[in-house]
Amino acid sequence: MSQISIKAVKKVFQKTEVIHGVDVEIEAGEFVVILGPSGCGKSTLLRMIAGLEDISGGEIAIGGKVVNQLEPRERGCAMVFQNYALYPHMTVRQNIGYALKVARVPKAEREARVLKVAQAVSLEPYLDRRPAELSGGQRQRVAMARAMVREPKVFLFDEPFSNLDAKLRVAMRAEVRNLHRSLGVTSVFVTHDQTEAMTLADRLIVMNSGYVEQVGRPSEVYHHPASLFVADFIGSPAMNLVRGFFGEDGYFRHGKGGMLNLPDLAKAHLSREVSIGIRPELVRRVDASHKDAIAAVVDYTEELGASRLVYARVDGSPIIAVDDGNNALGTGMPVHFAMSESDIHVFDHTTGRRADHAGRPVRATDSVSA
């Protein structure tokens, strides 16, 4: 049985629908990350699970019980807020213990539980300080401890690391991952940072303007993006995407007279208006003599240390490749690339959906079973 079940959930703000019918099942103990650009509705969805936002349509069930009409306190969720939302006038101890105090947990038990949680996130020395006297990372920990102390059925995280610096963020990521491993509580984590999403998630939910684009394990989402949006959004540098159509001669035509020999794909997607895409790291730099060599002209390069990104142009269409060779490339120099046909993704241009090799579009709500 799934822990959180979201069925046809909609959200309307003052007559504007911002979430258009979301269906997701979240298994018990899973760590699910909702990923999307700002304004895609990911936080709203999380807040609907929490009970901070009304559900305009559809239903949400937690542990098999429909919670649409329940108050936040009756849902068994705990939440970590983006700006932590610590009570500024209470000490760390009081902040963490507040939910227990409200729930009339006896004082002795309360103390013990606060202490236990504080130890788990190494906050013990700071219990009598106020939030203003803590560093960003420590406040973050208090926010987490406050969520943990109630031993909730579900943890909700609303972009909790967005106020931390890069280094601390990596550390907190590991900490959250470890906590999840040891507590095993179902968690829903909202972020717009794809690295955070990829590293934390058991499963990813990619959202865009109120729709779920794809649900799947991080590697599936990366390697089999279900839509143009996901292909473009996930991965850095972004996937190379180019618009065009396949001809009967087995060539893909794009840009200003560009031709790519892709006979297998051409057979499957004959004369369809499509976008094709390939990950930069799968574009290989080859010698001019290579049999499938595609000639390009370098625009510029970006040195990354271990490798470099080559920004180039093939018949007027831009392309990015990862080059780990040693010989440097200058602007305007000719360069040659090769790619395997099997690494190429094809997307229907009108629907924006994936048109896989068999030509069957993948539906957004398909949850790829693990």
């Binding site: 936040p72 306190r73 705990a78 409200v102």
Partner: protein
């Protein structure tokens, strides 16, 4: 700081000292006159240096003005207005800022329009209400026909009457009935981030719990600021107490009493006693302003802006 020339600094101090003299002169005159004997205070020109009669004059003013009772009354009124206003202001601002209900904006405007008209401006009609504070309700009952109905059914004539003349409630309630404090609280509540309320919801706290455990402790500074200005302004009320109190011996306030300490046309010009009385009466609010200046200034600025 730029332009630190010694000359400009000297000008600055000179202006500030002149200002100080201007501001402090009346206080000085009060203290000087209050410490002189009748003979000294009547001398022309007067010596602007304190003499040794301060305690005598203070005691005399205290007796003559009946200031024991009056100061107590003033305290009761000032504290009553302060506490009442803070309580009501916090409650209604909480309702207006944190609740959604249909009449919210109507209530907001109903309360805030009262900021427009100070008590002095509507003194005549407000005075009329003091004779029977329940008159509005009586009128409503009469108009709707409930009075008639009840009389027909039970033979009992509804006659609501609550006379506020010569009572603490009469002195206090009309001063509580304005929106200044509500406005201050509303401003403050608007700065509370949404997440704090949400976090408390997630922690299982009800609305009232959030009010008590989070909002009230957080607004302590504002409360103190509001308390200082409310205390000072209600202590200094003059026109309203003057009107509503006919039994001056028992319900008069200290500030009201000032007028009766002024020497009469043909009486002894014992200004020394008058000034001693003024000194006693102006002291409590002056202490509040001088000692709680930080809170006071903050409250003043956030209330009026």
């Amino acid at each position: 700081m730029i332009e630190r020339s010694p000359f400009f600094d000297a000008v600055t101090y000179a202006v500030m000292i002149i200002g100080l003299a201007m501001v402090i002169f009346p206080f000085w005159v009060v203290i000087v006159a209050a410490s002189q004997s009748l003979h000294e205070v009547s001398r022309v020109p007067i010596a602007l240096w304190p003499s040794d009669q301060l305690w005598v004059n203070l005691a005399e003013a205290w007796d003559r003005g009946g200031l024991g009772t009056k100061m107590t009354n003033s305290f009761i009124v000032a504290v009553g207005v302060t506490v009442g206003k803070i309580t009501l202001a916090a409650m209604s601002a909480f309702a207006i800022v944190f609740f959604t209900f249909r009449a919210r904006m109507v209530c907001f405007w109903l309360i805030f329009i009262t900021l427009m008209l100070p008590l002095e401006v509507r003194i005549v009609p407000t005075y009329a209400i003091a004779a029977n504070a329940l008159l509005p309700f009586q009128t409503i009952l009469d108009t709707v026909g409930i009075t008639w109905l009840v009389q027909q059914v039970s033979g009992f004539q509804i006659a609501l009457n609550w006379n506020l003349l010569n009572s603490y409630t009469g002195l206090i309630l009309p001063l509580v009935a304005t929106a200044t404090g509500t406005f201050l609280y509303r401003q403050f509540f608007m700065t509370i981030p949404d997440e704090l309320a949400e976090a408390s919801k997630m922690d299982g706290a009800s609305a009232m719990r959030f009010f008590w455990d989070v909002l009230i402790p957080l607004s302590r500074t504002n409360m103190l600021a509001l308390a200082t200005i409310m205390f000072v302004s209600s202590w200094n009320q003059y026109l309203w107490p003057l009107l509503i109190t006919t039994d001056r011996a028992n319900f008069g306030t200290a500030v009201m009493q000032l007028r009766f300490l002024i020497p009469t046309m043909n009486g002894t010009p014992d200004w020394n006693v008058t000034m001693a009385g003024a000194l006693i009466i102006m002291l409590p609010p002056l202490l509040v302003v001088a000692l709680m200046q930080r809170w006071f200034v903050r409250g003043l600025i956030s209330r009026d802006k």
